[in-house]
Assembly symmetry: C2
Homo-oligomer: 178 residues x 2
Amino acid sequence: MGDFLELAARRQSCRSFTGERVEREKLTKCVEAARLAPSGCNGQPWSFVVVDAPDKAAQVAKCAQVVGESNKFTGKAGAFIVVLEEHAVLNPALRKMLDSQIFAKGDIGGAVVSICIEAAELGIGTCVIGLYDRESLTKILNLPVEQRFGALIAVGYPTDETIRPKIRKPLEEIVRYV
Amino acid sequence: MGDFLELAARRQSCRSFTGERVEREKLTKCVEAARLAPSGCNGQPWSFVVVDAPDKAAQVAKCAQVVGESNKFTGKAGAFIVVLEEHAVLNPALRKMLDSQIFAKGDIGGAVVSICIEAAELGIGTCVIGLYDRESLTKILNLPVEQRFGALIAVGYPTDETIRPKIRKPLEEIVRYV
């Protein structure tokens, strides 16, 4: 086995892409990593749209550029993976009393990290875009107006493969043992 | 590098533990994997309580057994990792208009999967407990009443290391390309 901690340290948000296309086989491996992720009651509350056609990717990039100048870099992404939130079927005992989507946001968070880690293993950079134009994205992807989004991930080859030191709270500040 | 997809396939929910204690060094590696996980605006909305003292673990196991008989297996967990949701400091532009915790549930979902994957690499089983007695857990861990929980993860050595086939929707059902 490899070293997952080393891989987790190599995964970093990439904000400078070369503009090259990303091979569909690699994008599919990223989705496969998400498919294998755990979810509450195995509800799998997700589906994925891989946007790799250059004209569509350019349109999606525009959707990612709604907040100031900070996401202009998405114009050079080779592809996007759009994670859609889908209905989760919970266990019979739980679905009597809980909203079907109670675990969905957390489950999707795990799927998103799985995508980013698999991409890092393949030498591909990712950046999860927090805010984006959901209305335009709905139209571009021909989705129903009621579609819920999980995440928008920009994907591409990085212009610089240097691994930056991670800025994180130190371990001793965030963990205690009892 | 190893093969992350192979590791993701080896990660599975473990519902039968040997009762052995889990080495603290390994538990800390699991938390380290979570610490490296991405989060919105790098807000890191998490902290971790590692419960490895047998008497405390037994108390926490009781908190995991609130829904029917299904979580009795937690009585044999070697430890628990409790993920707490903490305040996230967003970027100045975003925190003017967004709730600080808008990304927290997804971020914690990514941290939880990172813990479970690192555990799988170390040969340790995990099971994320969806429902638990938060009131009792708050008291057992001496937390403030307003503390928000992110996740409760049972951790331990599996009695059976066989990897079960994963039950998942097939790839072609959950992905499309545009």
